[in-house]
């Protein structure tokens, strides 16, 4: 084992960590907002059909193809290259982030839908009867219960998005995997380098697992008899 080489690779790879985290966190935030909208759409019939179609397409195709379609595919259309969105779509960063957000929204909206279905009808009715507006019911009753229900599944999605950020290295972004690929083709010591990168992602996912276990405990006062 060549420890000097490994530690130099580690420091090199860690330089990509801010971009990996940036993409992961923003994709989750954006994906969550979009998934809320998708679930709100599901209350009307047309909206429901649209949301279903969206989820069907984005869950039924690989993220890699979505990334390529946005990055190379869209740029092939003249009206997009001359449109107002081009300053964003010109940058690989925004294309990668957009693909991650769209993909995450499809999965998160299904997780949230499962959570929403688990909200007891009685709780919502009780809120309505005591004079809460629809929005207040949403904010104080439906969402808290749904989010708690969805938490275990959602923590899996958080890990999955953090791992998915590795794919944007295919459109020239230099996050952890991008740096690893470049270093591997320069030094031809692929195995050591990819193992280092794997260790970084593993540490990230362990942190997420711990955090979500802690959050689950905090958000389940009825199970442990403590008030938050």
């Amino acid at each position: 084992m060549d420890f000097a080489f490994l530690s130099s690779i580690f420091t090199q790879l860690l330089k990509g960590l801010p971009l990996t985290l940036n993409l992961g966190v923003l994709a989750l935030v954006g994906g969550f907002c979009l998934s809320l909208i998708l679930n709100l759409m599901r209350t009307t019939r047309v909206g429901n059909a649209l949301a279903s179609a969206y989820v069907f397409v984005f869950r039924g195709t690989p993220l890699l193809i979505q990334i390529f379609m946005i990055y190379y595919g869209l740029a092939g259309f003249g009206f997009i290259r001359h449109g107002f969105l081009w300053p964003f779509l010109r940058e690989p960063y925004w294309c990668g982030l957009l693909a991650l957000i769209l993909n995450d929204a499809a999965y998160t909206s299904e997780i949230l839908r499962g959570g929403l279905r688990a909200v007891p009808r009685g709780a919502v009715e009780a809120g309505r009867v005591s004079g809460m507006t629809r929005l207040t019911v949403m904010r104080r009753i439906t969402l808290p219960i749904a989010v708690r229900q969805a938490l275990p599944a959602y923590s899996n999605e958080v890990i999955s998005i953090l791992k998915s950020t590795a794919l944007v290295s295919t459109i020239t972004l230099m996050e952890v995997t991008g740096i690893a690929r470049a270093a591997a083709s320069e030094t031809w010591r692929a195995v050591e380098i990819f193992l280092c990168a794997a260790a970084i992602y593993l540490a990230l996912s362990l942190v997420v697992t711990r955090l979500s276990a802690w959050a689950e405990r905090r958000l389940s006062p009825w199970q442990f008899g403590e008030t938050p």
Partner: protein, 239 residues
């Protein structure tokens, strides 16, 4: 850009046949990977449920690692490191080289091992959902462990596991898009080559997306059918 649809046709300049062949390859890789994942995942789940302390910890560590590392890195490691490992094992067994694993095998193994970690979670959850009382009842009437598994645990766990396994199958199909680095010409690689050659990026990536949608939709129906069959005789119909 005008999308020229004859490019997708079956003619001499059309990529239709190549795409169809690549779609089949995606299906082959996915099926092989899913089955090897099922075999290995069952072992892992068994170790986590019934194994002794070190075995249980080992299985847990395995699941943590393969669920925490990006699929593309696992595939890279298999592709670049596979030969070294195979050679090491071969030499240890006293066989003489040279050893190598094909792109197909490397891809199948990489996805299979990732899927095994996920499938073991599903199977473990399904086992834990089997009511304890039924197992105890089986023991009381004197069933052996094998009969208990075959006649009490498996039928009940299967019902709970099918939807989860359906999801795992879907992710295996999508993960197969990453194995093109091993030189295997499956849908993703074929689409990328065609897009690069013809400069019709949107057309070919859209075609690729449709191939994946066809595969995922058709197989989703198969799993639904299996789910309905497995629910026969359950009064409450599952939910």
């Amino acid at each position: 850009m005008q999308a020229d649809l004859t490019l997708l046709g079956l003619g001499p300049d059309g990529w239709g046949l190549a795409l169809a062949r690549a779609g089949l390859m995606t299906l082959y890789v996915s099926v092989a990977a899913f089955l090897s994942g099922l075999a290995f995942g069952t072992l892992i789940a068994w170790a986590r449920v019934a194994g002794n302390w070190p075995l249980r910890k080992l299985a847990e560590a395995y699941a943590t690692v393969f669920r925490g590392v990006p699929d593309i890195l696992v595939i890279y490691l298999f592709y670049f490191g596979g030969r070294q490992v195979v050679t090491a094992i071969g030499t240890a067994l006293g066989l003489s080289g040279p050893f190598d694993i094909s792109g197909f095998l490397a891809g199948v193994l990489a996805i299979g091992l990732i899927s095994a970690a996920n499938q073991s979670e599903v199977l473990r959850g399904a086992y834990q959902a089997v009511p304890r009382g039924t197992i105890e009842a089986g023991r009381v009437v004197g069933m052996t462990r094998l009969i208990l598994f075959r006649r009490v645990i498996a039928p009940q766990a299967l019902v709970t596991a099918i939807p989860g396994m359906g999801n795992q199958w879907q992710s295996v199909i999508k993960e197969s898009a990453l194995v093109s680095v091993t030189g295997l010409v499956e849908t993703m690689r074929q689409v990328a080559v065609a897009a690069g050659t013809t400069q019709e990026h949107f057309l070919f990536y859209a075609a690729g997306a449709i191939i994946y949608l066809i595969i995922t939709t058709l197989s989703d129906h198969v799993f639904r059918l299996a789910e309905r069959r497995s629910l026969r005789g359950h009064e409450q119909g599952g939910l």
